[in-house]
């Protein structure tokens, strides 16, 4: 598991208060128990805090799996560095 995926897993565990969760990069967030769009937005805000990036509302629509979110984070960090 990459460090970023591990960080993401911790954020999701804290959010849902369920420490049995293990994220897989390509498994949709929707497969998580009780997951819905509210949690996705909350996760985005947690990610903003944790990784120091900002998302546009339009970007949330395209986040289906942890891989989508990690890709967005990576792109934003490249933009910040440039």
């Amino acid at each position: 598991m990459t460090t970023q995926l591990a960080d993401l897993t911790h954020l999701v565990r804290d959010l849902l208060r369920n420490h049995d969760i293990d994220l897989e990069e390509t498994a949709p967030f929707d497969d998580l128990p009780l997951w819905d769009s509210m949690y996705l937005v909350a996760l985005v805000v947690e990610v903003e805090d944790h990784f120091g990036v900002m998302f546009e509302p339009e970007e949330i629509e395209g986040i289906v799996t942890p891989a989508d979110l990690l890709r967005l984070i990576a792109n934003k960090r490249v933009l910040v560095r440039n």
Binding site: S37, V41, A42, I60
Partner: protein
């Protein structure tokens, strides 16, 4: 011009297909131009007086898209201005009549083409891509299968299909799959939905005297009519898109099998729900959560279970979104109440999850959800809150619990409703059936047997439709 009208089936569609086949020999440009001309003709046949409003709206939004694409620093503000202008136009036509008493007439499909264009503006505002090519955008908005009643297209998902430069031609596969979708939609409308129309109208016309069984019959029949009518229309739109080589989004995924109201809204009028979730609910929730974060307030499950957390993070965004769904349908108090009622259902549903309520057996969960949806459907159909209250009172037995000669429905009607529930519960969706989804026993195949079956289907569909029954969602 409705998809089930003789004029559409017997001259418009054959002409559109033949012309498309001919135009596509000249390349993508001619094929697009042909579809734009036919889409305008389709619209003009139903509402020629509204053509100036439609063209003004499309032209204004195309200009705005280009301005947004060019205006790097002010994109968000320009998009916001465009959204306000679109909503003002929609509000004027939807609310001018009751509020100002001005009879402007509602332009056909304005709720749909306005939302499609708002989606395009917002998508452009947060994208580094150049503005779409003018004629692609024009066709995207005017495309005749979707302009009057959706599905509401998502520009990021569908626009690439309109912008492609190759494969603008008819193919045998697209035509056969598209025809299948279309014929199933025609049958849903003509054979399943329309026969319920007069009975539902009769029930609502006598709302004050409906006994318990008659009131339930009326509400259940209406819920079935609405579903088969709108999903039939959507199948036809998807089929038409498919015939011309476009893949349009679904609107229904067996909504009456939903296990809770949250699940229901992920299955009912999905293109509208998705539009509002992406463009209203998600941005509002994001704003609220960031605001809480700035004040060092938690946003996790525990915080949601507090009164202030629940109100700010859940009640606000859901209430605004569902109220908009109600108001979007038109200037009626019953639509507002419909939105508020579903907001309440959703909040109860979220609270149940947050406080870890017990998981109900499937049968109980589905029945409870359908019951809740039924109450909302009565509000949605009634012209006034009083009429809705009368039907709902009837459902509780306030007007008597026995049959009376006036409201006893023939056994045939009861059997009809039972048969429709069998279809709802056991039949695959049209998409599953046509695209041979895994695990589906009965599915279409390009064989002579299915060709013969669809041949009979189209004949039945045309005869049943009779070129008359208007689609419920045409009024929006």
């Amino acid at each position: 011009m409705a998809f089930n009208s003789f004029s559409f089936l017997l001259w418009f569609l054959p002409l559109a297909l033949a012309g498309y086949a001919a135009a596509s020999r000249g390349g993508a440009r001619w094929a697009k131009l042909w579809l734009i001309v036919m889409s305008l003709l389709f619209y003009a046949c139903g509402a020629w007086r509204s053509i100036p409003v439609l063209l003004l709206s499309v032209a204004g939004n195309v200009v705005l898209l280009h301005v947004i694409a060019a205006g790097h620093r002010y994109r968000a503000w320009l998009a916001a201005t465009g959204v306000v202008a679109n909503l003002a136009l929609l509000g004027w036509f939807k609310y001018a009549v009751p509020v100002l008493g001005v009879d402007t007439g509602l332009p056909l499909g304005i709720s749909f083409f306005t939302f499609v264009q708002i989606g395009s503006l917002l998508s452009q505002a947060f994208s580094d891509e150049p503005a779409p090519r003018t004629w692609d955008q024009v066709l995207f908005v005017l495309f005749f299968p979707t302009i009057t009643s959706g599905p509401i297209l998502n520009s990021r998902e569908t626009m690439p299909q309109f912008a492609r430069s190759d494969s603008w031609r008819l193919t045998a596969t697209d035509l056969s799959v598209g025809s299948g979708f279309f014929i199933i939609g025609l049958l849903k409308k003509g054979l399943l939905a329309d026969p319920l129309g007069p009975l539902v109208a009769d029930g609502f016309a006598n709302a004050d005297s409906l006994t318990l069984p008659a009131a339930w019959w009326t509400a259940v029949a209406w819920s079935l009519q609405l579903y088969f009518d709108f999903s039939g229309y959507t199948d036809m739109a998807i089929g038409l898109g498919w015939m011309f080589g476009f893949r349009l989004p679904d609107n229904f995924d067996q909504p009456y099998k939903a296990r809770c109201v949250i699940d229901y809204w992920q299955r009912w009028h999905m293109s509208l729900t998705r539009f509002l979730m992406n463009n209203v609910h998600a941005p509002l929730t994001l704003t609220v959560l960031r605001w809480r974060r700035r004040r060092d307030l938690a946003i996790d499950d525990k915080a949601r279970r507090t009164a202030s957390g629940f109100v700010t993070m859940m009640v606000g965004p859901i209430l605004v979104t569902m109220l908009l769904i109600g108001v979007w349908h038109g200037p009626r108090w019953t639509y507002v109440l419909f939105g508020l009622l579903h907001a309440m259902f959703l909040l109860v549903n979220h609270a149940w999850r947050l406080w870890r309520g017990p998981v109900l057996p499937t049968g109980v969960a589905v029945a409870l959800t359908y019951g809740a949806v039924l109450v909302g459907a009565v509000l949605f159909r009634a012209s006034t809150p009083t009429e809705a209250a009368a039907v709902l009172a009837g459902m509780t037995g306030a007007h008597g619990i026995g049959y009376s000669p006036a409201d006893v429905r023939p056994l045939l009607n009861a059997l009809w409703v039972a048969a429709l529930f069998v279809v709802i519960w056991f039949a695959p969706t049209t998409r599953q059936f046509m695209l041979r989804a895994p695990g589906i026993r009965l599915s279409w195949a390009p064989t002579p047997r299915w060709a013969a079956a669809f041949g009979c289907g189209v004949t039945l569909g045309i005869l049943a439709a009779g070129g008359t029954g208007e689609f419920v969602y045409f009024r929006f």
